[in-house]
Amino acid sequence: MSEPLIQCNRLTKTYPMRGVEVKALNGVDLTVEKGEMVAIMGASGSGKSTLMNILGCMDRATGGQYLLEGVDAGTLSNEELAHLRNRKIGFVFQRYNLLPRMSVWQNVMLPLVYGGKNGPHAKEKVLDALEQVGIAALADNQPNQMSGGQQQRAAIARALINDPQLILADEPTGALDTASSTEVMKVLQNLHRIKEVTLVIVTHEKDIAAWCEREITMRDGVIISDRKNTGRERVV
């Protein structure tokens, strides 16, 4: 498979802010092959969240080109982008973003519902996913009855329920203590190893980035370093 999963060419993004154009991305070139595990580092305001939004088809670039599996996301309609998010991309957020007043399994079911795949075997699939992240026993709990680490694992189950090619994790351990962080990173790394999912993790913590094979650093809307992470200390 020669075609890269992600290919960005001279990607720019500007926001109008109080009449002044703010350049969040200022010409990003990035290629991510299938099966990679990449960390994007950078201080706040460096443009890493903006890049994540564009990679996740949650936002459109102002200039340049973003190809996801060779498809130019800029040419797709809003509806096509929604379908792309549903089928190919899984999101893991810093604040979990589970919907309240719904049980864990209902939350994990949501991508199946929006993909029209909530048939009779959907719940089995959901319980399977929860099993993979190790919280099958909490399926009927509400999110607010669970610890941060458990909620994040539920969010990971939700992200992988549709067997996406790409999982985008935006500060996945930002709200967790060290022990929970390690647990979550283990789960993510296992997914990457066993399911060969491509993982892009935005973080500003060195030791989280150290889990990844490749480390990209951004500053002021451009990539300033892109290196293989040879010193992987925490291989499990």
Binding site: M58, D59, F93, G116
Partner: protein, 406 residues
């Protein structure tokens, strides 16, 4: 591959349950709107039914001749003037297309039977009134021309009068009653007419022969109205014209002069009354419909707040693959739920209200299927109409911005 309606309903119920008090208050506008439409239409239709009942009880194809002119400010001397006589009635009876004529005097008087007394309307009239007013006898007989000619002291009782004078329910025929202390023999009892329109109880009456009433009770030779029945509904207008011409000639009224009587087409009067009551129904329903619109604006208001409050939720759903249409449908379903649930409660409350009104006001207030269907449909339309804009706003949110909304 948009989301199935069943799932949308589940999402909506979850959201509405999360804010029970607010959902209820939002529905309240619709509840009040729908229940008032139901109640107002029921009352309006009840009033209309009463008018119809009155039409039927007053007889068909009837023309009324009243003494006195139509004054500038309405019928100033209506019924009080003394310008119509029995002779006028006899002349009218000779006209073509006239089936029945009943010269009539009316007087309110105290009636006693044994130790019971009752004040009622004494109607002195011709036997023809039986045909004109479609009176049916329950007991005995009606008075005849001979009774009239001889001025016999005979009386035919209406149902209400009978009930008040004979509380024990005895057979009245052949018994004596006193009208203004003058003894009368009861010869008949009428069947209940049933319809009592706006305080006008048509069973609260005693019929006596005209001459008897004139000689023994009123002491005049004038009549207070002449009831004329045409041979058919097509002839009613002809009869009105003929009677007018005839009376003008008999009363020596010059061309262009003021008539000292006035002729009224009862059917026309009543259809006017019916038109008015129908308009009243529409007016009441219209006022109630305004409250439905106000309720709809309440829905819009709350949905706009909900969209703002739930911006983050919308962003999350979009990140999971919800399309704009999915989000639109979800919020529309919520609005529809609010308005439908509100209208169901409104129909129940409105029906209970109509029942209470009918019981307390002692008149019919039928809740029609049409008013239920119309108000529920209107409420659903209101929900969708006023829910669309907030739903549209939710769907148009940029996913990335929605997700980062604090």
């Amino acid at each position: 591959m948009s989301v199935k309606p069943g799932v949308l309903a589940e999402f909506s119920l979850q959201a509405l349950r999360a804010n029970k008090l607010r959902s209820f208050l939002t529905m309240l506008g619709i509840i009040i709107g729908v229940s008032s439409v139901i109640l107002m239409m029921a009352i309006g239709q009840g009033a209309q039914a009463q008018v119809m009942a009155r039409v039927n009880s007053l007889g068909t194809n009837v023309v009324m001749v009243f003494p006195g002119a139509v004054g500038q400010f309405g019928r100033g001397s209506f019924g009080a003037a003394q310008s119509l006589t029995d002779a006028d009635a006899q002349a009218i009876a000779q006209l073509p297309f006239v089936a029945n004529v009943a010269p009539t005097v009316g007087k309110s008087a105290m009636v006693t039977h044994g130790n019971q007394n009752w004040t009622t309307q004494i109607t002195g009239t011709a036997p023809a009134i039986q045909n004109i007013s479609a009176l049916t006898l329950a007991e005995g007989r009606f008075f005849t021309e001979d009774d009239d000619t001889a001025a016999n002291a005979v009386a035919v009782l209406g149902e209400t009068t009978y009930e008040n004078l004979y509380p024990a329910g005895a057979d009245p025929v052949g018994t004596q009653i006193m009208i203004q202390n003058i003894p009368f023999t009861v010869i008949g009892l009428l069947q209940a007419n049933g319809a009592s329109a706006g305080g006008f109880n048509q069973d609260d009456v005693i019929y006596v022969p005209l001459k008897t009433a004139q000689i023994r009770l009123t002491g005049t030779t004038y009549v207070s109205r002449i009831e004329v029945q045409a041979t058919g509904s097509d002839q009613v207008n002809t009869v009105v014209d003929e009677v007018t011409t005839l009376l003008q000639r008999r009363h020596n009224i010059p061309t262009g002069g003021t008539n000292d009587f006035n002729v009224q087409n009862l059917a026309q009067m009543l259809s006017t009354a019916e038109d008015i009551s129908r308009m009243l129904t529409l007016f009441l329903a219209g006022v109630a419909a305004i409250s439905l619109i106000v309720g709809g604006i309440g829905i819009m208001n709350i949905m706009l707040v909900a969209v703002t409050e739930r911006t983050r939720e919308i962003g999350i759903r979009m990140s999971l693959g919800a399309t704009q249409r999915d989000i639109l449908n979800q919020f529309l379903t919520e609005a529809l739920f609010l308005s439908l649930a509100g209208s169901v409660i409104g129909v129940l409350l409105g029906s209970i209200g109509a029942y209470l009104f009918a019981t307390l006001a002692k008149m019919a207030a039928p809740v029609s299927a049409l008013s239920i269907a119309a108000s529920v449909a209107f409420a659903a339309f209101t929900g969708i109409f006023f829910g669309y804009y907030p739903a549209r706003r939710a769907a148009a949110l940029n996913p990335a911005e929605a997700l980062s909304y604090e």
